[in-house]
Protein backbone atom coordinates (compact mmCIF):
# COMPACT_ATOMS: atom_id res chain seq x y z
CA UNK A 1 0.00 0.00 0.00
CA UNK A 2 2.84 2.37 0.83
CA UNK A 3 4.06 2.08 -2.78
CA UNK A 4 1.07 4.14 -3.90
CA UNK A 5 2.30 6.97 -1.71
CA UNK A 6 5.84 6.77 -3.09
CA UNK A 7 4.89 6.23 -6.75
CA UNK A 8 2.32 9.05 -6.88
CA UNK A 9 4.75 11.40 -5.12
CA UNK A 10 7.61 10.64 -7.54
CA UNK A 11 5.38 10.85 -10.63
CA UNK A 12 3.94 14.20 -9.49
CA UNK A 13 7.44 15.56 -8.82
CA UNK A 14 8.69 14.48 -12.24
CA UNK A 15 5.64 16.02 -13.93
CA UNK A 16 6.43 19.39 -12.27
CA UNK A 17 3.66 19.54 -9.68
CA UNK A 18 4.66 21.90 -6.86
CA UNK A 19 6.40 19.76 -4.20
CA UNK A 20 3.80 20.46 -1.52
CA UNK A 21 0.93 19.50 -3.85
CA UNK A 22 2.80 16.37 -4.96
CA UNK A 23 2.98 15.40 -1.30
CA UNK A 24 -0.73 16.17 -0.81
CA UNK A 25 -1.77 14.18 -3.89
CA UNK A 26 0.36 11.20 -2.84
CA UNK A 27 -1.29 11.23 0.59
CA UNK A 28 -4.76 11.63 -0.92
CA UNK A 29 -4.21 8.67 -3.27
CA UNK A 30 -3.05 6.52 -0.37
CA UNK A 31 -6.01 7.51 1.81
CA UNK A 32 -8.49 6.85 -1.03
CA UNK A 33 -7.09 3.36 -1.71
CA UNK A 34 -6.83 2.55 1.98
CA UNK A 35 -10.36 3.85 2.63
CA UNK A 36 -9.28 6.16 5.44
CA UNK A 37 -11.79 8.98 6.19
CA UNK A 38 -10.58 12.04 4.29
CA UNK A 39 -11.31 14.40 7.17
CA UNK A 40 -7.77 13.51 8.19
CA UNK A 41 -6.49 15.81 5.40
CA UNK A 42 -7.60 19.16 6.93
CA UNK A 43 -7.04 17.74 10.44
CA UNK A 44 -3.38 16.92 9.85
CA UNK A 45 -2.85 20.11 7.85
CA UNK A 46 -4.14 22.11 10.85
CA UNK A 47 -2.18 20.21 13.49
CA UNK A 48 0.97 20.42 11.35
CA UNK A 49 0.83 24.22 11.28
CA UNK A 50 -0.51 24.69 14.81
CA UNK A 51 2.98 24.61 16.37
CA UNK A 52 4.17 27.64 18.34
CA UNK A 53 7.81 27.47 17.22
CA UNK A 54 6.75 27.61 13.53
CA UNK A 55 5.56 31.17 14.13
CA UNK A 56 9.23 32.15 14.05
CA UNK A 57 9.49 31.21 10.35
CA UNK A 58 7.42 34.15 9.00
CA UNK A 59 8.98 36.32 11.72
CA UNK A 60 12.55 35.75 10.54
CA UNK A 61 11.53 35.99 6.88
CA UNK A 62 9.74 39.31 7.54
CA UNK A 63 12.70 40.71 9.51
CA UNK A 64 15.11 39.76 6.71
CA UNK A 65 12.90 41.27 4.00
CA UNK A 66 12.38 44.47 6.00
CA UNK A 67 16.14 44.85 6.46
CA UNK A 68 16.68 44.20 2.77
CA UNK A 69 14.10 46.84 1.86
CA UNK A 70 16.30 49.22 3.86
CA UNK A 71 19.15 48.61 1.38
CA UNK A 72 21.01 46.21 3.63
CA UNK A 73 22.48 44.04 0.85
CA UNK A 74 24.34 47.00 -0.68
CA UNK A 75 25.54 48.15 2.75
CA UNK A 76 26.89 44.70 3.68
CA UNK A 77 28.64 44.41 0.31
CA UNK A 78 30.18 47.87 0.73
CA UNK A 79 31.42 47.00 4.23
CA UNK A 80 32.96 43.71 3.06
CA UNK A 81 34.57 45.56 0.17
CA UNK A 82 36.30 47.89 2.64
CA UNK A 83 37.47 44.87 4.65
CA UNK A 84 38.48 42.40 1.93
CA UNK A 85 38.54 44.32 -1.35
CA UNK A 86 42.30 45.01 -1.23
CA UNK A 87 43.19 41.29 -1.25
CA UNK A 88 43.79 39.55 -4.63
CA UNK A 89 40.38 38.50 -6.03
CA UNK A 90 38.78 41.00 -3.66
CA UNK A 91 35.28 40.89 -5.12
CA UNK A 92 35.04 37.10 -4.85
CA UNK A 93 36.02 37.38 -1.19
CA UNK A 94 33.50 40.19 -0.74
CA UNK A 95 30.88 37.90 -2.26
CA UNK A 96 31.57 35.15 0.29
CA UNK A 97 32.07 37.51 3.25
CA UNK A 98 28.83 39.33 2.48
CA UNK A 99 26.97 36.00 2.26
CA UNK A 100 28.30 35.07 5.70
CA UNK A 101 27.05 38.36 7.16
CA UNK A 102 23.86 38.29 5.14
CA UNK A 103 23.29 34.72 6.41
CA UNK A 104 22.05 36.04 9.71
CA UNK A 105 19.40 38.03 7.89
CA UNK A 106 18.07 35.87 5.06
CA UNK A 107 18.20 32.23 6.10
CA UNK A 108 17.61 30.58 2.71
CA UNK A 109 20.25 29.70 0.12
CA UNK A 110 18.20 30.31 -3.00
CA UNK A 111 17.20 33.83 -1.97
CA UNK A 112 20.84 34.54 -1.05
CA UNK A 113 21.99 33.43 -4.53
CA UNK A 114 19.35 35.61 -6.17
CA UNK A 115 19.89 38.75 -4.06
CA UNK A 116 23.71 38.56 -3.88
CA UNK A 117 24.04 37.29 -7.45
CA UNK A 118 22.05 40.12 -9.00
CA UNK A 119 24.58 42.60 -7.55
CA UNK A 120 27.83 40.64 -7.38
CA UNK A 121 27.86 38.66 -10.65
CA UNK A 122 27.55 41.74 -12.94
CA UNK A 123 30.08 43.62 -10.77
CA UNK A 124 32.60 40.75 -10.94
CA UNK A 125 32.12 40.35 -14.71
CA UNK A 126 32.74 44.06 -15.14
CA UNK A 127 36.07 43.79 -13.29
CA UNK A 128 37.25 40.94 -15.54
CA UNK A 129 36.43 37.85 -13.49
CA UNK A 130 35.36 34.75 -15.50
CA UNK A 131 31.56 34.54 -15.58
CA UNK A 132 31.70 30.88 -14.55
CA UNK A 133 33.85 31.70 -11.54
CA UNK A 134 31.59 34.65 -10.56
CA UNK A 135 28.49 32.45 -10.69
CA UNK A 136 30.19 29.55 -8.90
CA UNK A 137 31.40 31.80 -6.04
CA UNK A 138 27.90 33.24 -5.65
CA UNK A 139 26.21 29.83 -5.61
CA UNK A 140 28.76 28.30 -3.23
CA UNK A 141 28.74 31.23 -0.80
CA UNK A 142 24.95 31.23 -0.55
CA UNK A 143 25.04 27.77 1.06
CA UNK A 144 26.58 29.34 4.16
CA UNK A 145 23.35 31.23 4.85
CA UNK A 146 21.00 28.43 5.88
CA UNK A 147 23.42 27.01 8.41
CA UNK A 148 24.56 30.21 10.18
CA UNK A 149 21.83 31.33 12.61
CA UNK A 150 19.02 32.30 12.42
CA UNK A 151 18.34 29.39 10.10
CA UNK A 152 14.90 28.43 8.79
CA UNK A 153 15.93 24.77 8.11
CA UNK A 154 17.12 24.52 11.74
CA UNK A 155 13.72 25.76 12.98
CA UNK A 156 12.04 23.08 10.85
CA UNK A 157 14.46 20.42 12.17
CA UNK A 158 13.64 21.54 15.73
CA UNK A 159 9.90 21.33 15.01
CA UNK A 160 10.27 17.80 13.63
CA UNK A 161 12.43 16.49 16.45
CA UNK A 162 11.45 18.52 19.50
CA UNK A 163 15.04 19.74 19.88
CA UNK A 164 15.81 23.22 21.20
CA UNK A 165 15.89 25.85 18.45
CA UNK A 166 18.52 27.79 20.40
CA UNK A 167 20.80 24.74 20.58
CA UNK A 168 20.35 24.06 16.87
CA UNK A 169 21.11 27.69 16.00
CA UNK A 170 24.34 27.50 18.00
CA UNK A 171 25.18 24.08 16.58
CA UNK A 172 25.13 25.47 13.04
CA UNK A 173 27.37 28.46 13.79
CA UNK A 174 30.81 26.76 13.79
CA UNK A 175 30.17 24.53 10.73
CA UNK A 176 28.84 27.63 8.94
CA UNK A 177 31.96 29.63 9.80
CA UNK A 178 34.18 26.70 8.82
CA UNK A 179 32.42 26.46 5.47
CA UNK A 180 32.68 30.22 4.91
CA UNK A 181 36.40 30.31 5.77
CA UNK A 182 37.05 27.29 3.53
CA UNK A 183 35.31 29.03 0.63
CA UNK A 184 37.26 32.27 1.28
CA UNK A 185 40.60 30.45 1.05
CA UNK A 186 39.53 28.57 -2.10
CA UNK A 187 38.45 31.81 -3.80
CA UNK A 188 41.72 33.48 -2.77
CA UNK A 189 43.91 30.71 -4.20
CA UNK A 190 41.98 30.58 -7.48
CA UNK A 191 42.11 34.40 -7.74
CA UNK A 192 45.85 34.42 -7.11
CA UNK A 193 46.40 31.77 -9.77
CA UNK A 194 44.25 33.62 -12.31
CA UNK A 195 45.59 37.03 -11.28
CA UNK A 196 42.15 38.53 -10.67
CA UNK A 197 42.11 42.23 -9.73
CA UNK A 198 42.25 43.80 -6.29
CA UNK A 199 41.11 47.20 -5.07
CA UNK A 200 43.16 49.79 -3.24
CA UNK A 201 43.17 49.40 0.52
CA UNK A 202 40.38 51.33 2.27
CA UNK A 203 41.28 53.80 4.98
CA UNK A 204 40.42 53.03 8.58
CA UNK A 205 37.77 55.77 8.40
CA UNK A 206 36.08 54.06 5.41
CA UNK A 207 36.09 50.71 7.23
CA UNK A 208 34.62 52.38 10.30
CA UNK A 209 31.90 54.10 8.25
CA UNK A 210 31.07 50.79 6.56
CA UNK A 211 30.83 49.15 9.95
CA UNK A 212 28.51 51.86 11.28
CA UNK A 213 26.29 51.40 8.19
CA UNK A 214 25.93 47.65 8.77
CA UNK A 215 26.15 47.75 12.55
CA UNK A 216 22.37 47.91 13.05
CA UNK A 217 21.73 44.86 10.91
CA UNK A 218 24.51 42.87 12.56
CA UNK A 219 23.12 43.87 15.94
CA UNK A 220 19.84 42.22 14.97
CA UNK A 221 21.53 38.81 14.65
CA UNK A 222 23.20 39.40 18.01
CA UNK A 223 19.88 40.33 19.68
CA UNK A 224 18.19 37.23 18.26
CA UNK A 225 20.95 34.88 19.41
CA UNK A 226 21.52 36.55 22.78
CA UNK A 227 17.77 36.59 23.43
CA UNK A 228 17.33 32.90 22.67
CA UNK A 229 20.55 31.62 24.25
CA UNK A 230 20.15 33.82 27.31
CA UNK A 231 16.65 32.45 27.84
CA UNK A 232 15.17 35.96 27.51
CA UNK A 233 12.95 35.12 24.52
CA UNK A 234 11.57 32.01 22.92
CA UNK A 235 12.56 31.66 19.21
CA UNK A 236 9.10 32.92 18.21
CA UNK A 237 9.39 35.96 20.45
CA UNK A 238 12.93 36.59 19.15
CA UNK A 239 11.63 36.56 15.57
CA UNK A 240 8.92 39.13 16.40
CA UNK A 241 11.45 41.29 18.27
CA UNK A 242 13.57 41.08 15.09
CA UNK A 243 10.57 42.28 13.03
CA UNK A 244 9.97 45.26 15.34
CA UNK A 245 13.69 46.03 15.39
CA UNK A 246 13.86 45.87 11.57
CA UNK A 247 10.81 48.17 11.36
CA UNK A 248 12.42 50.74 13.67
CA UNK A 249 15.82 50.60 11.92
CA UNK A 250 14.26 50.67 8.43
CA UNK A 251 12.05 53.62 9.32
CA UNK A 252 14.29 55.78 11.50
CA UNK A 253 17.90 54.81 10.67
CA UNK A 254 17.89 53.69 7.01
CA UNK A 255 14.78 55.86 6.29
CA UNK A 256 13.62 53.59 3.47
CA UNK A 257 10.45 52.15 5.00
CA UNK A 258 7.01 53.70 4.82
CA UNK A 259 3.57 52.32 5.63
CA UNK A 260 2.98 51.22 2.03
CA UNK A 261 6.18 49.24 1.50
CA UNK A 262 5.91 47.71 4.98
CA UNK A 263 2.58 46.17 3.93
CA UNK A 264 4.15 44.94 0.67
CA UNK A 265 7.04 43.34 2.57
CA UNK A 266 4.63 41.77 5.08
CA UNK A 267 2.45 40.33 2.35
CA UNK A 268 5.42 39.05 0.36
CA UNK A 269 6.94 37.40 3.45
CA UNK A 270 3.61 35.83 4.36
CA UNK A 271 3.23 34.37 0.85
CA UNK A 272 6.68 32.78 1.13
CA UNK A 273 5.80 31.46 4.58
CA UNK A 274 2.39 30.19 3.46
CA UNK A 275 3.94 28.19 0.62
CA UNK A 276 6.23 26.62 3.25
CA UNK A 277 3.37 25.99 5.71
CA UNK A 278 1.23 24.19 3.11
CA UNK A 279 4.27 21.98 2.63
CA UNK A 280 4.63 21.54 6.41
CA UNK A 281 0.92 20.65 6.68
CA UNK A 282 1.03 18.00 3.97
CA UNK A 283 4.36 16.71 5.32
CA UNK A 284 2.59 16.21 8.66
CA UNK A 285 -0.02 14.05 6.91
CA UNK A 286 2.75 12.25 5.00
CA UNK A 287 4.59 11.63 8.27
CA UNK A 288 1.41 10.31 9.89
CA UNK A 289 0.96 7.79 7.07
CA UNK A 290 4.60 6.70 7.28
CA UNK A 291 4.26 6.17 11.04
CA UNK A 292 1.02 4.17 10.72
CA UNK A 293 2.77 1.98 8.14
CA UNK A 294 5.82 1.76 10.46
CA UNK A 295 8.11 2.91 7.66
CA UNK A 296 10.73 4.66 9.87
CA UNK A 297 11.10 1.45 11.89
CA UNK A 298 11.34 -0.67 8.72
CA UNK A 299 13.97 1.57 7.10
CA UNK A 300 15.86 1.80 10.36
CA UNK A 301 15.94 -1.98 10.84
CA UNK A 302 16.88 -2.51 7.15
CA UNK A 303 19.86 -0.16 7.44
CA UNK A 304 20.87 -1.52 10.82
CA UNK A 305 20.52 -5.05 9.46
CA UNK A 306 23.04 -4.10 6.77
CA UNK A 307 25.45 -2.42 9.19
CA UNK A 308 25.55 -1.07 12.72
CA UNK A 309 28.79 0.80 12.19
CA UNK A 310 28.05 4.43 13.05
CA UNK A 311 30.34 5.83 10.34
CA UNK A 312 29.04 3.57 7.58
CA UNK A 313 25.48 4.54 8.53
CA UNK A 314 26.42 8.23 8.49
CA UNK A 315 28.14 7.77 5.12
CA UNK A 316 25.00 6.17 3.66
CA UNK A 317 22.83 8.94 5.10
CA UNK A 318 25.21 11.60 3.74
CA UNK A 319 25.07 10.09 0.25
CA UNK A 320 21.29 9.89 0.30
CA UNK A 321 20.87 13.46 1.53
CA UNK A 322 23.36 14.91 -0.97
CA UNK A 323 21.52 13.19 -3.84
CA UNK A 324 18.11 14.32 -2.59
CA UNK A 325 19.46 17.82 -1.86
CA UNK A 326 20.59 18.27 -5.47
CA UNK A 327 17.08 18.19 -6.85
CA UNK A 328 14.75 18.90 -3.95
CA UNK A 329 14.19 22.11 -2.01
CA UNK A 330 15.92 21.98 1.42
CA UNK A 331 12.81 22.38 3.61
CA UNK A 332 10.80 19.82 1.61
CA UNK A 333 13.60 17.26 1.79
CA UNK A 334 14.05 17.93 5.49
CA UNK A 335 10.34 17.51 6.21
CA UNK A 336 10.17 14.19 4.39
CA UNK A 337 13.46 12.57 5.36
CA UNK A 338 14.62 14.03 8.67
CA UNK A 339 12.20 12.17 10.99
CA UNK A 340 12.97 8.84 9.28
CA UNK A 341 16.73 9.26 9.23
CA UNK A 342 16.87 10.67 12.76
CA UNK A 343 15.56 7.33 14.02
CA UNK A 344 18.39 5.52 12.24
CA UNK A 345 20.98 8.00 13.52
CA UNK A 346 19.75 7.68 17.11
CA UNK A 347 19.98 3.90 16.84
CA UNK A 348 23.73 4.18 16.19
CA UNK A 349 24.23 6.72 19.00
CA UNK A 350 24.56 9.87 16.93
CA UNK A 351 23.66 12.97 18.93
CA UNK A 352 20.38 14.40 17.53
CA UNK A 353 21.79 17.95 17.41
CA UNK A 354 24.89 16.74 15.59
CA UNK A 355 22.66 14.83 13.19
CA UNK A 356 20.45 17.88 12.51
CA UNK A 357 23.55 19.85 11.49
CA UNK A 358 24.74 17.00 9.25
CA UNK A 359 21.31 16.79 7.59
CA UNK A 360 21.02 20.53 6.93
CA UNK A 361 24.64 20.78 5.74
CA UNK A 362 24.12 17.88 3.32
CA UNK A 363 20.95 19.34 1.87
CA UNK A 364 22.43 22.80 1.34
CA UNK A 365 25.60 21.39 -0.24
CA UNK A 366 23.25 19.49 -2.54
CA UNK A 367 22.00 22.87 -3.79
CA UNK A 368 25.38 23.45 -5.48
CA UNK A 369 26.04 19.86 -6.55
CA UNK A 370 25.94 19.24 -10.33
CA UNK A 371 24.12 18.43 -12.47
CA UNK A 372 20.94 19.89 -10.98
CA UNK A 373 21.77 21.91 -7.84
CA UNK A 374 19.13 24.65 -7.62
CA UNK A 375 21.59 27.42 -6.66
CA UNK A 376 23.67 26.58 -9.75
CA UNK A 377 20.56 27.13 -11.87
CA UNK A 378 19.82 30.49 -10.23
CA UNK A 379 23.42 31.69 -10.56
CA UNK A 380 23.73 30.50 -14.18
CA UNK A 381 20.53 32.29 -15.15
CA UNK A 382 21.82 35.56 -13.60
CA UNK A 383 25.22 35.15 -15.29
CA UNK A 384 23.58 34.02 -18.56
CA UNK A 385 25.87 31.01 -19.02
CA UNK A 386 25.26 27.28 -19.11
CA UNK A 387 24.90 25.32 -15.90
CA UNK A 388 27.78 23.11 -17.13
CA UNK A 389 30.20 26.05 -17.04
CA UNK A 390 29.08 27.06 -13.53
CA UNK A 391 29.36 23.45 -12.36
CA UNK A 392 32.92 23.17 -13.72
CA UNK A 393 34.01 26.44 -12.13
CA UNK A 394 32.30 25.43 -8.90
CA UNK A 395 34.12 22.09 -8.45
CA UNK A 396 36.89 23.46 -6.13
CA UNK A 397 34.21 25.04 -3.92
CA UNK A 398 32.23 21.83 -3.90
CA UNK A 399 35.31 19.88 -2.85
CA UNK A 400 35.82 22.26 0.08
CA UNK A 401 32.14 21.91 1.04
CA UNK A 402 32.51 18.12 1.03
CA UNK A 403 35.64 18.41 3.15
CA UNK A 404 33.73 20.51 5.70
CA UNK A 405 30.89 17.98 5.61
CA UNK A 406 33.34 15.14 6.33
CA UNK A 407 34.87 17.09 9.22
CA UNK A 408 31.47 17.95 10.69
CA UNK A 409 30.30 14.33 10.30
CA UNK A 410 33.40 12.77 11.83
CA UNK A 411 33.93 15.29 14.62
CA UNK A 412 30.71 16.08 16.55
CA UNK A 413 32.71 18.75 18.41
CA UNK A 414 32.09 21.22 15.57
CA UNK A 415 28.34 20.95 16.12
CA UNK A 416 28.19 20.40 19.85
CA UNK A 417 30.89 22.72 21.24
CA UNK A 418 28.81 25.90 21.25
CA UNK A 419 25.51 24.36 22.47
CA UNK A 420 27.40 22.61 25.27
CA UNK A 421 29.28 25.77 26.16
CA UNK A 422 26.32 28.14 26.25
CA UNK A 423 23.21 26.10 26.89
CA UNK A 424 24.02 23.12 29.10
Amino acid sequence: MIWILVIVFVICLVLRFPISFALGLACLSYLLVKGTPLIIVPMKMYSGIDVFVLLSVPGFIMAGNLMNQGGLTEKIIAFCNHLLGHIRGGLSLVNIGASMLFAGISGTAISDTASMGSIMIPAMKKEGYDTGFSCAVTAASSTVGPIIPPSVPMIIAATLSGLSVGKLFLAGALPGLLLGIGLLFTAYFISKKKNYPKHKRSSLGEVARGFVDTFWSLLMTFIILYGIIGGIFTPTEASIIAVVYALVIGKFVYRRLNFKNIQVVFLDSMKTSASLMVLVGFANLFGYILITEQIPQTISSEILGFTTNKYVVLLLINLLLIIVGTFMETIAALLILFPILLKVALAVDVDPIHFAVIAVLNLIIGLTTPPVGVCLFVASSIGKISIGEVSKAGLPFLMVSFLVLILVTLFPWFSLALPNLFMD
Binding site: L15, L25, L28, L38, V41, I240, M270, K271, M277, V372
Partner: protein
Protein backbone atom coordinates in the same frame (compact mmCIF):
# COMPACT_ATOMS: atom_id res chain seq x y z
CA UNK B 1 -15.11 42.60 -9.71
CA UNK B 2 -15.33 39.30 -7.78
CA UNK B 3 -11.66 38.65 -8.57
CA UNK B 4 -10.64 42.00 -7.08
CA UNK B 5 -12.93 41.63 -4.05
CA UNK B 6 -11.59 38.18 -3.19
CA UNK B 7 -8.03 39.41 -3.65
CA UNK B 8 -8.71 42.32 -1.31
CA UNK B 9 -10.40 40.16 1.34
CA UNK B 10 -7.43 37.77 1.35
CA UNK B 11 -4.91 40.63 1.39
CA UNK B 12 -6.53 42.50 4.28
CA UNK B 13 -7.24 39.24 6.13
CA UNK B 14 -3.54 38.37 5.86
CA UNK B 15 -2.37 41.82 6.96
CA UNK B 16 -4.77 41.99 9.94
CA UNK B 17 -3.72 38.50 11.05
CA UNK B 18 -0.03 39.42 10.67
CA UNK B 19 -0.38 42.57 12.77
CA UNK B 20 -2.47 40.57 15.26
CA UNK B 21 0.30 37.99 15.50
CA UNK B 22 2.99 40.65 16.03
CA UNK B 23 0.98 42.57 18.66
CA UNK B 24 0.00 39.44 20.60
CA UNK B 25 3.58 38.19 20.82
CA UNK B 26 4.73 41.69 21.80
CA UNK B 27 2.10 41.77 24.55
CA UNK B 28 3.41 38.43 25.80
CA UNK B 29 6.97 39.79 25.93
CA UNK B 30 5.88 43.12 27.44
CA UNK B 31 3.96 41.46 30.26
CA UNK B 32 6.91 39.22 31.10
CA UNK B 33 9.17 42.20 31.76
CA UNK B 34 6.62 44.25 33.69
CA UNK B 35 4.71 43.53 36.93
CA UNK B 36 1.59 42.86 34.80
CA UNK B 37 0.77 39.13 34.74
CA UNK B 38 1.05 37.60 31.25
CA UNK B 39 -2.45 36.74 30.00
CA UNK B 40 -2.89 32.99 29.54
CA UNK B 41 -4.39 33.42 26.08
CA UNK B 42 -1.47 35.10 24.27
CA UNK B 43 0.17 31.90 22.99
CA UNK B 44 -3.10 30.49 21.72
CA UNK B 45 -4.12 33.80 20.14
CA UNK B 46 -0.79 34.13 18.35
CA UNK B 47 -1.14 30.60 16.95
CA UNK B 48 -4.64 31.38 15.68
CA UNK B 49 -3.45 34.64 14.07
CA UNK B 50 -0.57 32.72 12.49
CA UNK B 51 -2.80 29.97 11.08
CA UNK B 52 -5.24 32.55 9.71
CA UNK B 53 -2.38 34.58 8.19
CA UNK B 54 -1.13 31.43 6.47
CA UNK B 55 -4.64 30.50 5.31
CA UNK B 56 -5.35 33.93 3.83
CA UNK B 57 -2.00 34.05 2.01
CA UNK B 58 -1.97 30.44 0.77
CA UNK B 59 -4.35 31.44 -2.06
CA UNK B 60 -2.38 34.59 -2.84
CA UNK B 61 0.79 32.47 -2.95
CA UNK B 62 -1.01 30.27 -5.52
CA UNK B 63 -1.96 33.34 -7.54
CA UNK B 64 1.67 34.57 -7.61
CA UNK B 65 3.27 31.11 -8.14
CA UNK B 66 5.15 30.89 -4.83
CA UNK B 67 4.95 27.09 -4.67
CA UNK B 68 8.29 25.57 -5.72
CA UNK B 69 8.56 22.69 -8.17
CA UNK B 70 11.22 20.68 -10.02
CA UNK B 71 12.05 21.75 -13.56
CA UNK B 72 14.75 19.22 -14.34
CA UNK B 73 12.54 16.62 -16.06
CA UNK B 74 9.86 18.94 -17.41
CA UNK B 75 12.25 20.67 -19.84
CA UNK B 76 13.07 17.31 -21.44
CA UNK B 77 9.44 16.47 -22.23
CA UNK B 78 8.08 16.99 -25.79
CA UNK B 79 6.37 20.38 -26.18
CA UNK B 80 2.99 18.79 -26.69
CA UNK B 81 3.24 16.94 -23.42
CA UNK B 82 4.45 20.10 -21.68
CA UNK B 83 1.35 21.95 -22.94
CA UNK B 84 -0.83 19.10 -21.69
CA UNK B 85 0.82 19.29 -18.27
CA UNK B 86 0.27 23.05 -18.03
CA UNK B 87 -3.44 22.35 -18.40
CA UNK B 88 -3.63 19.14 -16.35
CA UNK B 89 -1.66 20.13 -13.23
CA UNK B 90 -4.08 22.88 -12.06
CA UNK B 91 -7.05 20.56 -12.71
CA UNK B 92 -5.59 17.73 -10.60
CA UNK B 93 -4.49 20.16 -7.88
CA UNK B 94 -8.00 21.66 -7.91
CA UNK B 95 -9.30 18.17 -7.13
CA UNK B 96 -6.91 17.89 -4.13
CA UNK B 97 -7.98 21.20 -2.60
CA UNK B 98 -11.61 20.65 -3.55
CA UNK B 99 -11.59 17.46 -1.48
CA UNK B 100 -9.84 19.31 1.31
CA UNK B 101 -12.44 22.11 1.20
CA UNK B 102 -15.34 19.63 1.45
CA UNK B 103 -13.77 17.79 4.38
CA UNK B 104 -12.79 21.10 5.99
CA UNK B 105 -16.54 21.71 6.46
CA UNK B 106 -16.82 18.38 8.30
CA UNK B 107 -13.75 19.43 10.32
CA UNK B 108 -15.43 22.73 11.28
CA UNK B 109 -18.59 20.86 12.38
CA UNK B 110 -16.39 18.59 14.47
CA UNK B 111 -14.88 21.65 16.14
CA UNK B 112 -18.19 23.35 17.00
CA UNK B 113 -18.82 21.51 20.32
CA UNK B 114 -15.18 22.00 21.36
CA UNK B 115 -13.86 25.08 23.14
CA UNK B 116 -10.35 26.47 22.91
CA UNK B 117 -8.41 25.77 26.13
CA UNK B 118 -7.45 29.31 27.16
CA UNK B 119 -9.65 31.66 25.15
CA UNK B 120 -12.85 29.69 25.41
CA UNK B 121 -14.03 30.31 21.85
CA UNK B 122 -15.59 27.77 19.55
CA UNK B 123 -12.90 25.62 17.87
CA UNK B 124 -15.00 25.66 14.69
CA UNK B 125 -13.76 29.23 14.27
CA UNK B 126 -10.14 28.09 14.38
CA UNK B 127 -10.81 25.16 12.02
CA UNK B 128 -12.55 27.53 9.58
CA UNK B 129 -9.03 28.63 8.56
CA UNK B 130 -8.56 25.33 6.72
CA UNK B 131 -11.69 26.05 4.68
CA UNK B 132 -10.35 29.51 3.78
CA UNK B 133 -7.02 28.01 2.77
CA UNK B 134 -8.45 25.29 0.53
CA UNK B 135 -11.19 27.45 -1.03
CA UNK B 136 -8.82 30.35 -1.78
CA UNK B 137 -6.31 28.00 -3.43
CA UNK B 138 -9.21 26.39 -5.38
CA UNK B 139 -10.38 29.84 -6.50
CA UNK B 140 -7.01 30.86 -7.97
CA UNK B 141 -6.59 27.40 -9.51
CA UNK B 142 -10.00 27.82 -11.15
CA UNK B 143 -8.87 31.18 -12.61
CA UNK B 144 -5.72 29.51 -13.91
CA UNK B 145 -7.70 26.60 -15.42
CA UNK B 146 -10.04 29.01 -17.22
CA UNK B 147 -7.09 31.04 -18.53
CA UNK B 148 -5.27 27.91 -19.71
CA UNK B 149 -8.27 26.49 -21.55
CA UNK B 150 -8.94 29.84 -23.26
CA UNK B 151 -5.31 30.24 -24.32
CA UNK B 152 -5.03 29.21 -28.01
CA UNK B 153 -1.27 28.63 -27.66
CA UNK B 154 -1.80 25.81 -25.15
Amino acid sequence: MLYKTIGRILKYGALISTWGLILTVLLQIFCRFTPIATPSWTEEASRIFFIYAMSFTAGLAMKNDYYVHLDMFYNRFPQRFQRFLVKAIPVITFFLFGVMAIYAIQFIVLGVPEQSPSMGFNMGIAFFSMFIMSVSICYYLWIKIKKNFKNPNL
